[in-house]
Subunit: 360 residues, 2 copies
C-alpha cells in the first residue's frame, strides 16, 4: 500500500492515525460487537461517542457554555438557507461581505428569503484580496453580518475577524475551522461542512450563540430550524452517526498532537514555504495579495498553461494528486488542510522546482 499526498479541496485527506483506528474498529467498536455505523443513535455506546466528540470540539475551540454545538447534515450549501431562515427575524435584512465564489453563493440564497446588503465586495479585484475593516459599510440594524473567512476557490482569507458591534457575525468556516485558534465569542454563528478539516462529507457543524436560536421564519421546514436540533441534542432525527464518530477521532488526533496552537504553527509553516517557493519562481504565480493569502488553499498558475496537463500527470505519477485548480479559475490549487503532512508540502515544492527546471 502506498498512500498519496492528496491536495483535494474537499473531501480531503484524513489523518492516517484516524483511518488506522477506524479500520481497526470497523467490525467491533471496543468490544461492542458492532461497527459504529450499526449502532442505534439512542444507545449508550453511540451517545457516549457523540458526547465525547462534542466535548473534544468544545475543548479545542474553547466554546463557551452559552453556545450550542449542532451536528447536522446538508453542508454549507444548506446553511446558506438555514442562516437567513433562522436569523433574519423581524429585521428581514442582513449584511453580506462578497469576497469570492462561496460568498456569492451564500448571497444568492439569502436573497431568496430577505433583503441582502453587500457591505463590501472585492469582486472588482477578481477576489484577490480581503476588504479592510474600515472598508466595511455595515448597517447597525442588520439582523446579522455574513462572511466567508476563507474562500476555498480563490485561496483568499481574511487576516482579521471583522468587528460588527452588536450585530451578530456569521462565518462560513468550512475550509478554515480548526486550522488555528479562534475567539468563538466574536461570532454569533459559525458553520462548517466537515469534509476539509473535520471529517467525511455529510456532516455539518454549527456553533451558535443560544440567544440567536428560536427565531425561525414560520415557513421554515422543521429540519431547517436550529431550535429543533438544539433542543434535541442534534438527534431530532437519526444523525450521520459514522461521520460524527470519524469527526470525533479527528478531534482526538488534534488534541493528541497539541491542539490548535500546534496545528496553527504547522499550518503557517506549510503555507509560508509553499508561497515562498511560488514567489521565488518566475514560472509559478499566485494572484492573491500577500496579506490575504489562504493557509489552506493555495492556487497557482504555470507560466506556460499548455503544460498544465503534463504537470498534473507527472505530479500524480510521484504520488501528488488532485492538484487541478477549480474549473472557474483554472491552473492549479494545492489544498493543504490539517491532515496534509508537512512532508507532503515539501514533496510538492520539490516536484514543482524539478518541473520548472525541466520545462521552465
Amino acid at each position: 500500500m502506498t498512500r498519496v499526498y492528496n491536495f483535494s479541496a474537499g473531501p480531503a485527506m484524513l489523518p492516517e492515525p484516524v483511518l488506522n483506528q477506524a479500520r481497526d474498529e470497523m467490525l467491533d467498536w471496543r468490544g461492542s460487537g458492532m461497527c459504529v455505523a450499526e449502532m442505534s443513535h439512542r444507545g449508550k455506546e453511540f451517545m457516549a461517542i457523540a458526547a465525547e466528540a462534542e466535548a473534544d470540539l468544545r475543548e479545542l475551540l474553547i466554546i463557551p457554555e452559552h453556545y450550542k454545538v449542532l451536528f447536522l447534515q446538508g453542508g454549507a450549501s444548506l446553511q446558506f438557507a438555514m442562516v437567513p431562515l433562522n436569523m433574519l427575524g423581524d429585521k428581514g435584512r442582513a449584511d453580506y461581505l462578497n469576497t469570492g465564489s462561496w460568498s456569492k453563493k451564500a448571497i444568492a440564497e439569502a436573497k431568496r428569503f430577505g433583503e441582502v446588503r453587500i457591505a463590501a465586495s472585492t469582486e472588482a479585484s477578481r477576489f484577490t484580496c480581503a476588504p479592510a475593516q474600515d472598508e466595511l459599510s455595515l448597517d447597525p440594524d442588520a439582523a446579522y453580518v455574513h462572511y466567508t473567512p476563507n474562500e476555498t476557490i480563490e485561496g483568499v482569507e481574511f487576516p482579521y475577524v471583522p468587528e460588527t458591534g452588536a450585530v451578530p457575525l456569521v462565518a462560513d468556516m468550512s475550509s478554515t475551522i480548526l486550522s488555528r485558534p479562534i475567539d468563538v465569542t466574536r461570532f454569533g454563528l459559525i458553520y462548517a461542512g466537515a469534509q476539509k478539516n473535520i471529517g467525511p462529507a455529510g456532516l455539518t457543524i454549527v456553533i451558535v450563540r443560544e440567544d440567536l436560536i428560536g427565531k425561525a421564519q414560520p415557513f421554515t421546514p422543521t429540519m431547517l430550524d436550529y431550535k429543533i436540533h438544539a433542543e434535541n441534542g442534534s438527534m431530532y432525527n437519526t444523525p450521520p452517526t459514522y461521520a460524527w464518530y470519524l469527526a470525533g477521532l479527528v478531534f482526538k488526533w488534534l488534541k493528541g498532537i497539541g491542539g490548535l496552537s500546534t496545528i496553527a504553527e504547522i499550518n503557517a509553516r506549510k503555507a509560508q514555504k509553499l508561497y515562498a517557493a511560488i514567489d521565488r519562481s518566475s514560472f509559478y504565480h499566485n494572484p492573491v495579495e500577500p496579506s490575504a493569502r489562504s493557509w489552506m488553499n493555495v492556487p497557482f498558475t504555470l507560466a506556460k498553461p499548455e503544460l498544465d496537463e503534463t504537470f498534473l500527470k507527472e505530479a500524480k505519477a510521484v504520488g501528488l494528486t488532485t492538484l487541478q485548480g477549480h474549473r472557474s479559475v483554472g491552473g492549479m490549487r494545492a489544498s493543504i488542510y490539517n491532515a496534509m503532512p508537512e512532508a507532503g508540502v515539501d514533496a510538492l515544492i520539490a516536484f514543482m522546482q524539478d518541473f520548472e527546471r525541466r520545462y521552465g
Copy 2:
C-alpha cells in the same frame, strides 16, 4: 472479536462482508492511495463509485430510465418537507394515509405547506392494521397520495400497494426498501433513509419520476429542490461520499446473494418463524393483525412486563442486542432487516423460548 446480533431499528446491522471490504479498503481504495472518504467527489475514482452504486440500485429495483435516482442527505424527516414543497404544485393539497408514528410525522410537516386530507386512518385501532384498498377515500384532484408502506415503530405493513389512479403515489420506504422486489412504476416517488437496508445514516435515497420534478414552491430552499439535485447528478454540493460508497457495497452484496427475490425469501422465512414462535407462546404477544405484520420490525410484549429489564439484560449477555421497544409503545422490538442473518433470528427464538421456560 465477537460480533453481536443487533436488532436495532436503525441505524442497523450491515452485512459483514461489506464491513470487511470497507475495513480492507480504508487506507487505500484499490491502489488509489486514498480512503474513499478522502476523494474529491468530482474526481474520476469517486464518480465511478457513485455511478456503479446507482447502476446496481437500478438493476436491483428495476428502476426505469424515466425515474431519477438521487443520493441526498437529511433522512426521511427532511423528505417530510421536501415532498410537499416539491409536489404540492398548483393543486396545493394532498392525501395522506395515517397508519402509524411515521405517517403522523409526515402529515404534521406537510400541513405546514399545504392542505392535507387524511384519506384513511388506522389510529382508532392503535395502528395495528393496514386499511384495505376500498377503505381509502381518495381525492382524484390531490397532488399526490403519501403513505408509509412499513411503520417501523408499530411493526405494521401494507400487504399491497395502494391503487391511486392518475394521482402519483409517494412512499416512505425507509424501513422496507430492498427487502423484496417492488414494481417501481406504481410509484411517483419513493424515498428512504439509508440506515436500515441501504447503508449508514446520513444518506437518503429518492427515486422520482422525471415528470414530477421541477414544480417546487418559490420559497423552497435550493438544497430542498429535487430539480437542482436531478440536474446535477446529486452533486450540486458535496454529497455524503463515504455513505454513498458503503451503500454501493451493500448493493453489490445484495446482487451477489441473488438479488431481491432471494433476500425476499430469506426475509419472509425470518419473519414467519419469529411470528410463529410468538403466536405459539402465551408469554409473548404481538398486537398486529396477521395480514399486516411487518417483515422488518417485530414488536412484542412479555406477559410479565416487570421482566422486561431482565429479558434485555439476559439477551444482551448472549449477544442479542438492542431489543427494547420504542419508548412510545414499550415492550420489545426485533428489527430484522436484510443484514440480520437467519441465524440471528434463530438465536433470538431459542433465547425467547428458554427465557419463557425459566420465567413464564
